[in-house]
């Protein structure tokens, strides 16, 4: 199923010429309409005319989250405010939120890329899409909503939360496609199991999961618990929201809709551009955005790009599943650790629920890593000896994944926070003053 064959299966040559044409235009618009860019470009000694090839993009300065924050609320808009039809903001989990403004055309593009994404995840006109992403300033809810409307599917705008109602609708409306965060999908599966709902009685065929990092092991778990095909979606408010990239059923990376969003991978430290397959920070440039052109935005997300042809038929470049963020990258005793590594280790243990929390402390000038894991019947025994062995086994598994000694604490079931939005996995109590 390919929603826009022309765009999604375009030859690399045609695509690059389209990208270049669009890049020239957006750079020139940004320069003319947004004082921030004009100032930045001048400082770097670059004029829009200097962009004559896609490679010339490298000459342009990066835009960071801080830059967008400094422009709060509407400083990055490139059109008169009256042409902005809608605004969204980032969650603000890491500070003051950033604002994203959309013109009528931007909303159409958003709907288009989301329709491609949903269709790539098997959703069609005849489907009922239960959209459990939050509606509101968060882009998740409305992004899926617009895509679903362009697709012509029936959207169930239930929004996030109210799990009991979600379960009822899932059964009564025979929902065929579900959209939510992967951690909520797991939670939902848990609730279904507890309530004795047989997944065979549900009508789910696929799920579009994103807005937080997850792993292959978590995918297996979700697919098992919900009885569906679980696919990964990627996007960010600063660029447009969900719909920057989507995984196809081949499950070998997320196709970036590169006719609208131009990707680069850089070394986050040296900022040099990395080649195909090299892991680094994803940098995105919007190629068609009217309301708020974004040039070389540093996403802080760590991935790699792959240009080889996908068997689904699309020629769109693929990005790997996000394996970490340059800012939730933990440095423990000098070793780089991503929460996803710990999650991977935990999910490999039979009978362990993938709910965990990582607590970092520095009691005596030395980092200590504690991983709290919920106890489950399979892990428990009447003997202290046995429970301690289980604890040590988990510690060993994590140790072999990250190369660091950790302390595992077993906590009671359901005692770790379940999130309906983004799960908070790391509590860093170290004082870096």
């Amino acid at each position: 199923m390919i929603w826009n064959k022309e765009a999604e299966c375009m030859s690399r040559e045609d695509k690059e010429s389209l990208q270049l044409e669009r890049l020239k235009e957006i750079v020139s618009t940004a320069y003319k309409k947004v004082p921030y860019y004009q100032e930045r470009f001048k400082k770097a000694g670059i004029r829009p005319e200097d962009i004559q090839s896609l490679g010339d993009l490298e000459k342009l300065p990066f835009t960071t989250k801080t830059d967008l924050r400094d422009a709060y609320p509407f400083g990055m808009f490139a059109v008169p405010e009256e042409d902005i039809l809608e605004v969204h903001t980032s969650s603000g989990t890491t500070g003051k939120p950033t604002v994203s403004g959309y013109t009528k055309k931007d909303l159409e593009i958003w709907g288009e890329v989301m329709a491609r994404a949903l269709n790539m995840a098997l959703a069609e006109k005849s489907d009922r899409i239960q959209n459990c992403y939050g509606y509101g300033l968060f882009t998740g809810g409305l992004g899926v909503h617009y895509g679903s409307q362009q697709l012509g599917a029936t959207v169930i705008p239930i929004s996030a939360g109210n799990t009991q109602r979600q379960v009822e609708i899932l059964q009564d409306f025979k929902t065929s496609v579900i959209t939510c965060t992967p951690s909520y999908a797991l939670y939902l599966g848990e609730v279904l199991e507890k309530q004795g709902v047989d997944i065979k009685d549900l009508n789910l065929k696929s799920g579009v999961f994103g807005a937080e990092m997850w792993t292959e092991e978590m995918r297996d778990e979700i697919e098992k618990r919900l009885g569906l095909l679980a696919l990964n979606i990627y996007g960010l408010t600063e660029i447009i929201g969900p719909g920057v990239a989507q995984e196809c059923p081949e499950k070998n990376g997320l196709h970036i809709f590169e006719d609208h969003f131009y990707p680069e991978i850089i070394n986050p430290k040296t900022r040099e551009i990395l080649g195909e397959g090299e892991k680094g920070e994803l940098v995105l440039t919007t190629l068609t955005r009217e309301g708020m052109p974004i040039i070389r935005f540093r996403t802080k997300d760590i991935t790699a790009l792959r240009y080889d042809k996908c068997s689904c038929g699309r020629t769109l470049v693929r990005m790997d599943r996000i394996t970490g963020r340059t800012d939730d990258m933990l440095k423990i005793r000098g070793v780089i650790v991503f929460p996803s590594q710990i999650e991977r280790a935990l999910l490999k243990i039979e009978g362990l629920d993938p709910h965990y929390q990582i607590i970092v402390t520095r009691p005596h000038h030395l980092d200590e890593l504690e991983v709290q894991v919920e106890a489950s019947p399979i892990l428990f025994s009447d003997e202290v000896k046995h429970v301690e062995e289980v604890k040590k086994m988990i510690e060993k598994r994590i140790n072999s994944e990250i190369g660091l000694r950790v302390n595992v604490t077993l906590v009671e079931p359901e005692s770790l926070p379940r999130s309906e939005g983004k799960a908070v996995r790391v509590i860093d109590k170290r004082n870096f003053d």
Binding site: A375, F380, D382, E383, V384, V387, E412, P413, E414, S415
Partner: protein
Amino acid sequence: MKLKQISIFLENKKGRLKKAIHVLSQSKINIRALSIADTSEFGILRLIVPEVEKARAILEKNQFVVKVNDVIAVEVPDKPGGLDSILDILHQADINVEYIYAFVEKKTDNAIVVIRTENIEEGLKTLKKANANVLSSEEVYNL
């Protein structure tokens, strides 16, 4: 005769023991014997109750992790050297005792202890062969 014991995982946190006991009391479950194994990070509460399955269900419903397994209840002469004589039987047979705890109530003049040997079948066989008075579930529950 093997006896069912229910074990409950307790996080080392204020109020958890109370919560477990309270849940059982709400369901009118009478505790015949109990012991707690405590470590610096968690505890294991072990109970002998007449309605094991009911207790398990109610605890699980309240998010406790529980495990039901077999232990041995045996009568011990309530006099100096009484317990020693029982342990001696196991010792002679080279059977390892994981833990042991006592009932408060008595059936006769004898005390009752719960014994968890590493291998329950072996423990049971050995005690019986030495003519120790191993109690049945009914005998224990009807104290």
